[in-house]
Amino acid sequence: MAYSEKVIDHYSNPKNVGTLDKAKANVGTGLVGAPECGDVMRLQIEVDEESGVIRDAKFKTFGCGSAIASSSLATEWLKGKTVEQALEIDNMDIVEELHLPPVKIHCSVLAEDAIKAAINDYRVKNGLPELVAEKKAH
């Protein structure tokens, strides 16, 4: 299976690998996937409380090259967006940007789930209700 240049780049030079302090009130942590599926992503966001802008994002992923690239790309896109804007990120945007083949689309879905999980964690920590995802046709 040939990987796209972008996937290879994210794999070889991943952006924003690391860990934020999940105890902080303005850090949201999303942990999605499962070891049995071969895909686990942890995505974290640090939100500027005043402006609602995501000023830092970090990830760690157990998974194939496409999973790593999807989560790395997600952290790049999150930085500088507000939390509301971050909710608009759709997995198909990731698929297009990375040229993911059909068999790897689920990696992008997991990345989108990770973003939403991180945002929900942030919301819950700050007294807001969790957002319920609309059922999308995948």
């Binding site: 794999y11 070891p35 686990v40």
Partner: protein, 406 residues
């Protein structure tokens, strides 16, 4: 040091042809191109002679009589012929077959077919080291059992089953014993008489011969075994497999067998030393495990799991330079992790984290050195990126976490 990249360490998938094999085959394409079944002219006679000679070379490798070799298009066909052929031929005796869960798909799928047409199949579990339990095997035999099929050496883990003991049990109960020996023949001494084997499949392209050719050994004495042909036609191969013989490939297969017979002992020593060196160097990494029994194992195979790192991601770190396989779901067309590793009791996470190394005749020490470094570097880099590794280091019990499935 002149290390040519990429390095090939996937000899269990296929092997490069030995140049000496290619040389033996060449005249049979454009010069000695006759059909071996053309009885009435020299083109046919020359081709037939070449096939007879190859049959002898093949038989010698496994201590069989040349008349007991049926040539096929490969081991998959030989597996099909053995299982379906015995099932049909011995249908008056019974309809029960015993096999095990770590067999190659060519055997498992054929057994599924047998179940569909009304036969019954027992799939024995293996122990955590990949070996079958002999007592379980004997218990599974009924008065309707007509065949036991257990592979000689496993293609993913290299584990060698207790063939002679299995044969004793089969003989004791009057059941035929078939073994898919594709990974073992040519690599370790396989003797159909000393080992007590009734039918055996093996293939050219796993022993530095051409693809598209293989053999089914079918015993003629003590007992005399017959199989119902699955390929009908001109009655070739004593009526057991019709179809014009692929003379160049058969010549190559014969030569490959001869080379293995002569070089097997020294090669096995060299390969197991390199394999052990590779394995021990990689085991220096934390949380790294060998899958399968390390004592009863083919000399050239190693299957190793690197916990908390996923196999396809791991391979991406070096697969431009090193060719390997993985038990990870992402590397299989079905997205299921290796069923062989699951049968050994590995959790999905370790099955996803495995790499299979298949060393071969053309593997060198420099290649092993390069591989050790590349894999160690990649494992360390990916662990830095793995949330599971971080949790493990913090003492979190990963098994206790409830994962959000989607």
């Amino acid at each position: 040091m002149n290390l040519e990249l990429p390095i090939y360490l996937d000899n269990n998938a296929t092997t490069p042809m030995d140049p000496r094999v290619l040389e033996a085959m060449l005249p049979y394409f454009t010069q000695k191109f006759g059909n071996a079944a053309s009885r009435n002219h020299s083109f046919g006679w020359v081709a037939e002679e070449a096939v007879d000679y190859a049959r002898e070379q093949i038989a010698k490798l496994i201590n069989a009589d040349p008349k007991e070799i049926i040539l096929t298009s490969g081991a998959t066909e030989a597996d099909n012929l053995a299982i379906k052929g015995v099932y049909e031929m011995y249908s008056s005796k019974g309809n029960h077959i015993i096999t095990c869960t770590t067999e190659h798909k060519a055997v498992l799928d054929t057994c599924k077919h047998i179940e569909k047409i009304g036969g019954s199949v027992t799939y024995l579990d293996v122990q955590n080291d990949g070996l079958i339990d002999l007592a379980e095997l004997e218990k599974a035999i009924t008065d309707k059992t007509i065949l036991i099929t257990i592979m000689y050496g496993n293609n993913e883990t290299g584990v060698i089953q207790p063939i002679r003991e299995i044969s004793k049990i089969a003989r004791k109960h009057g059941v035929l014993f078939f073994t898919d020996a594709t990974q073992a023949v040519g690599k370790i001494p396989v003797d159909v008489n000393a080992d007590g084997i009734d039918l055996m499949a093996f293939s050219g392209h796993k022993m530095y011969g051409p693809k598209g050719v293989g053999a089914l050994y079918v015993r003629r004495k003590n007992p005399r075994v017959k199989v119902t042909a699955q390929m009908d036609g001109g009655g070739h191969e004593r009526g057991m497999r019709s179809g014009t013989l692929n003379v160049p490939a058969i010549v190559g297969f014969g030569k490959a067998c001869e080379l293995c017979m002569n070089e097997m002992e020294s090669e096995a020593k060299r390969l197991s030393a390199m394999r052990d060196r590779l394995e021990n160097a990689l085991l220096e990494l934390e949380e790294t495990y060998v899958n399968g029994n390390r004592e009863h194992r083919l000399p050239h195979t190693a299957n190793i799991s690197f916990k908390y790192v996923e196999g396809e991601g791991l391979m991406m770190g070096f697969n431009k330079n090193i060719a390997l396989s993985s038990g990870s779901a992402c590397t299989s067309a079905s997205l299921e992790p290796s069923y062989v590793l699951k049968a050994l009791g590995l959790g999905d996470d370790l099955a996803h984290s495995s790499l299979r190394f298949g060393l071969g005749r053309f593997t060198t020490d420099e290649q092993i050195d390069f591989t050790i470094k590349a894999i160690k570097d990649t494992v360390i880099k990916l662990r830095e990126m793995s949330p599971l590794w971080e949790m493990f280091k913090e003492g979190v019990d990963i098994n206790a976490i409830e994962w959000a499935h989607h």
